[in-house]
Amino acid sequence: GAGVSQTPSNKVTEKGKYVELRCDPISGHTALYWYRQSLGQGPEFLIYFQGTGAADDSGLPNDRFFAVRPEGSVSTLKIQRTERGDSAVYLCASSPAGDGTEAFFGQGTRLTVV
């Protein structure tokens, strides 16, 4: 596709459930990022992939959050035992530059934990 694609657009889940959020980056972009945006705030970094490996996961809030990118393209953000405080928009971005520059964002997945 032409841009970063995220699915689903919206996800409502019950507290305690497990969720997976998917990101399809721009073709050929080796760098992939996950950010989380709460209402009225700027995006906050979660994790960065260069190829298949997580080069920086310092933004993951706790061990309930995990992300994979097994083939160096599509990535999945996984959240276990969801809590109401996990409700936010989860943004994925990709970059051709292999670093933090020129990051192109998807439309996000709005996660609501009830």
């Binding site: 700027g42 995006p43 933090g100 520059t101």
Partner: protein, 114 residues
């Protein structure tokens, strides 16, 4: 610790006016400063970016002014239009900052009234 401070939180201008949004950073390892535009329900879109080796960069109606000694940078929108109404985020990234993350400001909600 908020490493990028953005102001104002909201801004209302008349069509044709020149809104100015300001950001200040603390980490001198930052060396890439992008601005993102975000419409409701959409992901942030890269608007314009600057490196510290120049003091100003223009792209169309958008200009970044950069003051390295003051650790400040600003976005100016010339001849603003109602279609420019959106939330604008400044961000910073540094190859020497020890991380691959973009650090965002909290955003400025701009309203351009006809």
């Amino acid at each position: 610790q908020q490493q990028v401070k953005q102001s104002p939180q909201s801004l209302i201008v008349q069509k044709g006016g020149i809104p100015i949004i300001n950001c200040a950073y603390e980490n001198t390892a930052f060396d890439y400063f992008p601005w993102y535009q975000q419409f409701p329900g959409k992901g942030p879109a890269l608007l314009i970016a600057i490196r510290p080796d120049v003091s100003e960069k223009k792209e169309g109606r958008f200009t970044i002014s950069f003051n390295k000694s003051a650790k400040q940078f600003s976005l100016h929108i010339m001849d603003s239009q109602p279609g420019d109404s959106a939330t604008y985020f400044c961000a910073a990234w540094g190859s020497g900052a020890g991380s691959y993350q973009l650090t965002f400001g909290k955003g400025t909600k701009l309203s351009v009234i006809p």
